[in-house]
Symmetry: C2
Amino acid sequence: MREIDSVAKLAGYFSRLPGVGKKTAGRYAYAVINMSREDACGFSDAIAEVKEKVRFCKTCGDFTDEEECVVCRTRDASVILVVKEPKDVLAIEKVREYQGVYHVLHGVLDPNNNVGPEDIRIKELLPRLDGVKEIIVATNPDLLGEATAMYIARLLKNFDVTVTRIAHGLPVGSEIEYADEMTLSRALSDRKEM
Amino acid sequence: MREIDSVAKLAGYFSRLPGVGKKTAGRYAYAVINMSREDACGFSDAIAEVKEKVRFCKTCGDFTDEEECVVCRTRDASVILVVKEPKDVLAIEKVREYQGVYHVLHGVLDPNNNVGPEDIRIKELLPRLDGVKEIIVATNPDLLGEATAMYIARLLKNFDVTVTRIAHGLPVGSEIEYADEMTLSRALSDRKEM
């Protein structure tokens, strides 16, 4: 009734963020009102800028603000680590152990929701295989992630490349994004041939 | 290292929101990247618009997008309910029972942090007393809220106005077993005949 239109509208946008309910969205909107004009403008610009600058790396599919990301340009391309989402790349980079490059699928196979091999970046992996020694499949250790890993392993069977899967050091059913760095590190070093 | 500048910047702004840590801020930033261009622009504009349009009501000090808020313009001005912050107004409005107007202090007295009567909107209450029958002091039932309520009660002693304080007691639906001793003590001493 007495809620201000522009505040309600902003809260509506906040509530689209993951895990943000109506009440939290309202608190965020009030926090913006309490920011200095300079900060609020900076915040507003930062959102527009991200959307304008960030795109997908033409090689690995990760987010980047260049045509090809710095990882693809500078790192050992003989090992490719396959993940579901860009935030998984970030999680693995934090461990500071992996020296190879990535391949972001932007999804996993999900027959119940009509997500097939054509809907995620699986075929984009094939032209990258030249000179590659190992493909590490690091999709989530859950049902869809495992199925996607199996699919990729089978697809690459006839190519001259070793396909490995990160070890089940990760608790089954969890998500890579939330794994602690020690567990992630173990999962990397214990990877097994598929 | 490989974090994209514009994403890191946006995450930095998100982490200024209440209760948002580094990890959550990163997730929010990724959510923005995944928004459609239209939604992200709308989000960006909504932040700028809130900061541009929202100001303080000249009478009660609540947030509004007009010179005087709709509550001050249309409701019974013979009862004024005094709160610490604009979000307290929102909480009380949700009850849909209160028919009077508000007075937002924008803070409470806090001697340890050098917040005195001049630093919050206490003196702005005095010109509003004409024709007012009751002042309900609804600052938080904590140490600083109580002290501020006492100060206001003493200040208004010589004016022809009744000053009341919202009741203390057990929250509805709570269990006596888990109530703290201060609350139980107040609930007992403030008991009402049935």
